[in-house]
């Protein structure tokens, strides 16, 4: 078996050439598939918008698009954060509750201290979220307990904490009239006609996506998700990376809480309930494999955009809005089935290449 002996010594200078070129070509092929996958969602999004435009030419009117962007902003930020966690073969189900806590905390801060600058409010929300993420990440990384279970627990606990805070401070709801005008204008602010909240979300996606793509600490997340044991053996600080992913995801969930507060301006303790499934759905539709190791923040953001657009497009198409959830479910299933087919085909292609090469 010449092929296997050639593979054995990866450092062997004489024979390293061929397999390395091969693996580089394989990586290029995989990269191309990821791009194709993301273009696929983009195409689906464009198709959906196109069909809706035919049914209702006013669908892309300024106000409609702005509403769409505002609705998508929260989900896009959450999806970008969740991508980091899912890539490491973990999941954070507590993001809906973290959003709720952060939104309530920021609301309380602004009501008690109306002079608080918006930047401070945003940072406060992110700190609250980061602390929640630290708790999640510490339990997952240190106690080595599956993240699905831990974050299911903190999903309940953090929501309960918000309720406890609200009932003990006797402020069950925060209304728009209680909030300072500077924060309210932040929620409605636009730059070049585009809502600031959406621009923040886009910035988050770009930063997270670039970090995952181009930085060593970002690439290592993929390594951890593909093969945790191999990652550990090759010297990646697995525990620290996973912990960091959870903290960053928590901070982004906190940011999403601030965006939520700025968008709706009326808050109670149920803000963000059940959002975790939408977030995971957006990531999965966007090509982030639930088993870890693949996907990108821009893909997840496109997934979030697609899910939001479906919700607003259905009524425009004359379809009963009750079909929304069913459509989302079908989309998730289609996405994972497509991913599976692509992966199988990629594996077959790479195998074929290896056989020819040896």
């Amino acid at each position: 078996m010449s092929a296997s002996t050639a593979h054995r010594p990866p450092t062997g200078a004489t024979e390293a050439d061929a397999p390395e070129a091969r693996s580089r070509r394989g990586a290029a092929l995989a990269q191309r598939l990821v791009v194709v996958r993301e273009l696929g969602i983009l195409a689906a999004l464009v198709l959906l918008i196109g069909i809706t435009l035919i049914a209702n030419p006013r669908f892309l009117s300024g106000q409609n698009v702005r509403d769409l962007m505002l609705s998508a902003a929260v989900l896009v930020v959450l999806a970008a954060g969740q991508t980091m966690v899912i890539i490491t073969r973990n999941v954070d189900l507590s993001v809906g509750s973290v959003l709720g806590l952060s939104a309530y905390a920021v609301g309380t801060l602004l009501v008690d201290h109306p002079g608080t600058p918006v930047v401070v409010a945003v940072l406060a929300g992110m700190v609250v979220g980061a602390v929640c993420g630290l708790v999640n990440g510490a339990i997952v990384a240190v106690a080595k307990v599956p993240s699905l279970v831990v974050t299911l627990g903190t999903l309940y606990a953090i929501r309960g904490l918000t309720s406890l805070w609200a009932s003990s401070s006797d402020r069950l709801q925060i209304n728009a009239s209680d909030l300072p005008s500077s924060f309210k204008s932040f929620g409605g602010a636009r730059v070049l006609g585009i809502p600031v909240l959406f621009l923040i979300a886009v910035a988050v996606v770009l930063v997270v996506g670039y970090h995952l793509r181009s930085y060593r600490s970002g690439r290592e997340l993929y390594g951890i998700g593909s093969a945790p044991e191999a990652a550990r053996l090759s010297g990646i600080p697995v525990g620290r990376r996973v912990l960091t992913a959870f903290v960053l995801n928590g901070a982004l969930a906190g940011l999403a809480g601030v965006l939520y507060a700025a968008r709706f301006q009326t808050l109670d303790t149920t803000a963000g309930t059940g959002l975790e499934l939408n977030v995971v759905a957006a990531a999965v539709v966007g090509g982030v494999a639930i088993a870890g190791g693949t996907g990108s923040a821009w893909g997840a953001a496109l997934g979030a955009l697609l899910l939001t657009t479906i919700g607003t497009a259905l009524p425009q198409l004359g379809i009963n809005p009750f079909w929304r959830d069913a459509a989302v479910g079908a989309l998730i299933l289609a996405a994972i089935a497509l991913d599976r087919t692509l992966t199988l085909r990629l594996a077959a292609r790479l195998r074929g290449r290896n056989l020819r090469g040896s």
């Binding site: 831990v150 903190t154 606990a157 929501r159 309960g160 009750f322 069913a326 479910g329």
Partner: protein, 350 residues
């Protein structure tokens, strides 16, 4: 020698792994949580006014019925290393279909049969996607969670159908004689017994544990992994549909949003009961104790006027403690390897 009779060939192994065999593991995990349950029940009945009244215990059991019922097939699924998050949506869809068909004038007996068939179809769809297409069950059932709940809304919209025959709805909430035990507990106990025997005393049950520990090894030893998983998902669908029928009768109202979020409570009960989310360990006794413990803690706290939202903290904390505690105990028990680990580290970076 007492040591030799317990574990046969300890060939050249200085450190015998303590109680690593699956059967040795299931029993204690169930008994720990059961002990907690008994302790809690005793303490609560003495310290919480009205907790031990037959009326209150009846309500408590009524709340547990659907959770315990759905937990039966779901436990088997989790033991094999898979998961079904769509159970609560199947409850909702079965409830919505029940309401729609009753509104259309069908007889209730026929409707119940149709609902169970529907559950089988929904479960089979999950099972096909997982086994035939080889998709991860977590992702598949997040998809069908949305899909089935969406279909429930398509069927019934935001309406409610509430005019079910009085004789059926009173059966669902009334108790056996004066015992305070709800009628539904008896058929539930039968199902619990059947499932417990299946999981703990048959080759099928052992195959499920084998699949959870190592799917490849199970396949090589002749277990038809795909077929077994498929039928587990079908069972999960049928039982969830049954849960939907009972839920509808118990609240006397068919709604598309019935039992929203129930999947998290069921999974919390299963994990609290000591079943590993990775599969391969845990037992039904623990799961039933876990379901009862969650419900009793919530019930007792409600009786002492803790706001219901705050109870979530307790649920969440219980769940985390239940999974972290065994890890800590195991870490303390095997606090020997530092020497070996440092040796490995030296080898790792030369």
């Amino acid at each position: 020698m007492a040591v030799d009779t317990s574990s046969a060939p300890v060939a050249g192994n200085a450190t015998p792994p303590p109680a690593r065999a699956p059967r040795g593991f299931t029993l204690p995990s169930g008994s720990v949580i059961s002990t907690f349950l008994v302790l809690f029940l005793v303490i609560a009945s003495f310290s919480v006014d009205g907790f031990a009244s037959t009326r209150n215990l009846g309500f408590l059991l009524l709340d547990v019925v659907v959770i315990a019922l759905i937990a039966l097939p779901l436990t088997l699924i989790v033991v094999t290393g898979e998961i079904d998050l769509s159970v609560a949506s199947m409850v909702g869809l079965s409830s919505a279909v029940m309401g729609k068909l009753w509104f259309a004038g069908l007889s209730l007996q026929l409707i119940i049969v149709l609902c169970l068939v529907l559950g089988a179809v929904l479960g089979a769809f999950n099972g096909l996607l997982v086994t035939w297409l080889g998709l991860p069950s977590l992702a598949v059932t997040i998809g069908t969670l949305a899909l089935y709940r969406g279909l429930a809304f398509v069927v019934l919209g935001d309406q409610a159908v509430a005019d079910f025959p009085r004789s059926w709805t009173t059966w669902a909430i009334s108790s056996l004689g004066n015992s305070g035990i709800p009628n539904a507990v008896l058929p539930l106990l039968v199902l619990v017994a059947v499932t417990a025997v299946l999981l703990h005393a048959t080759p099928i049950g052992r195959a499920l544990y084998a699949m959870g520990n190592s799917e490849d090894a199970a396949r090589f030893s002749g277990i038809d992994v795909a077929r077994m998983k498929f039928w587990l998902f079908v069972a999960s669908g049928v039982v969830s549909a049954l849960g939907g029928v009972f839920w509808t009768l118990r609240y006397g109202s068919a709604r598309a949003d019935n039992a929203t979020g129930l999947e998290l409570q069921v999974i919390a009960a299963i994990l609290l009961g000591g079943v590993s989310i990775f599969g391969g360990s845990g037992g039904l006794l623990g799961v039933m104790a876990g379901a009862l413990l969650l419900a009793s803690v919530r019930n007792a706290l409600q009786l002492v006027n803790v706001p219901s939202d705050v109870l979530n903290i307790v649920t969440g904390a219980l769940l985390i403690v239940a999974v972290v505690a065994p890890q800590v105990v195991a870490r303390l028990k095997t606090h020997r390897p530092p020497a070996r680990r440092s040796a490995g580290a030296q080898k790792g970076n030369p």
